[in-house]
């Protein structure tokens, strides 16, 4: 019983305090799982995050579910995921319902209107960050070409984004791995 309560509290706290998306939540989850409850070590946590990034889907729920599973099996995973997502989802549903009733009021309309460009700026910064991190991992020119091709495909053919993403994933998996040529030639 005790471990269920611990899992609930840990992920409730990490979820409710995690303003600002995944990156903010990671240190909160780490603090709970490593420091407060000692379920896993710091190194394991780093490994978990790295591996979560190689899988699709939201990172917080993958972490919560996996840690919950390690601590208390399937029930633990379920509890951890629910504690992570339910409070914020319920809050948002209520907020949107309230908004729907008062959105005509000029003050409310002003407030919701004003967040739109702020979210736009957050996305601009996120886009920039994704592009720069991609340019660090593959050649910058390739990133540029890739961006141009994707933009062209979507603008000209209205191609479904999921198709582009899925074919990119297939390409990444099928493309032959670079042989250890560089290693053999001693180029580090």
């Amino acid at each position: 019983m005790r471990k269920y309560k611990d899992v609930t509290m840990a992920f409730l706290r990490a979820g409710v305090l995690g303003f600002g998306g995944g990156a903010v939540c990671l240190p909160l989850i780490q603090r709970e799982a490593v420091n407060t409850y000692g379920w896993i070590t710091d190194d394991e946590f780093g490994e978990l995050v790295a591996i979560s990034n190689t899988l699709p889907g939201p990172i917080n729920t993958k972490l919560a579910g996996y840690i919950g599973y390690r601590v208390a099996g399937v029930v633990g995973a379920t509890i951890a995921v629910c504690a992570t997502i339910v409070p914020s989802v319920v809050m948002l549903v209520f907020l949107l319902e309230v908004l729907a009733n008062v959105r005509e009021h000029p003050i409310v309309a002003g407030m919701t209107g004003a967040i739109v460009p702020v979210v736009g700026m957050m996305m601009a910064l996120m886009t920039w960050q994704i592009l720069t991190s991609a340019a660090k991992e593959i050649k910058g020119v390739l990133v540029g070409v890739n961006v141009a091709v994707v933009a062209f495909l979507i603008a000209m053919f209205d191609l479904h984004p999921a198709i582009i993403v899925a074919s990119t994933i297939v390409f990444a998996l099928l493309k032959p791995e670079p042989k250890q040529k560089t290693l053999k030639e001693g180029v580090d």
Binding site: C25, T112, A114, V165, T168
Partner: protein, 184 residues
């Protein structure tokens, strides 16, 4: 009340967007928008942007907040449950099943480049939403307020590294004042 078909569509929409969403929650935003606004028409473009804005003002993962609030519109609380399960469970099961396998292969270039290769596409898609966002705000608030809010949020988010929720709080106050002034 939603029909069975609508629940299935809801499940499918959030299943595909999250199973393709490499790079965490924010990477799924453009994919979800495409399904919700263009494919199924559950929300208008403006509703979606408003939902994102409200969602960003609250704590918790964005992917599940999107799933929950779209699920509620389509099929009330049952819709919330369906969308959340579709968004969370498949990738979690993959993770639990593949953890040991991935631990062994975590340094394989194939596995590593998966998320890298998807990045340019996600950047284009996010960039497109950003442009819609600014266009909507432009026709909504006018040039001056849009520019002030864009410049202000850039300054605080990027230069001062102010916490995003705080920046949204400031925008709320700004918008509230602008709205109140328009009353007189």
């Amino acid at each position: 009340m939603a029909t069975l078909i609508e629940y299935l569509e809801l499940f499918w929409a959030f299943f595909t967007t999250n199973i393709l969403g490499y790079g965490g929650g924010p990477a799924t935003i453009p994919l979800v928008q495409h399904e919700v606004v263009e494919v199924y028409g559950w929300m208008t473009e403006y509703q979606f942007i408003e939902m994102l804005a409200a969602g960003n003002a609250l704590p918790g993962p964005i992917a599940t907040k999107m799933a929950g609030s779209v699920g509620f519109i389509v099929g009330n609380w049952l819709g919330v449950a369906v969308a959340l399960v579709a968004a969370v469970v498949p990738s979690l099961i993959l993770k639990i099943l593949l953890m040991n396998f991935l631990l062994k292969h975590k340094d394989s270039p194939r596995v590593k480049r998966l998320s890298t290769y998807v990045k340019p596409t996600i950047a284009v898609l996010l960039g497109m939403i950003m442009i819609q966002n600014v266009t909507i705000s432009f026709s909504n608030l006018g040039l001056i307020h849009t520019v002030i809010l864009l410049a202000g949020s850039f300054y605080f988010l990027e230069k001062r590294k102010t916490h995003p929720s705080l920046v949204i709080g400031m925008a709320l106050v700004y918008g509230g004042i602008v709205g109140a002034v328009s009353l007189f």
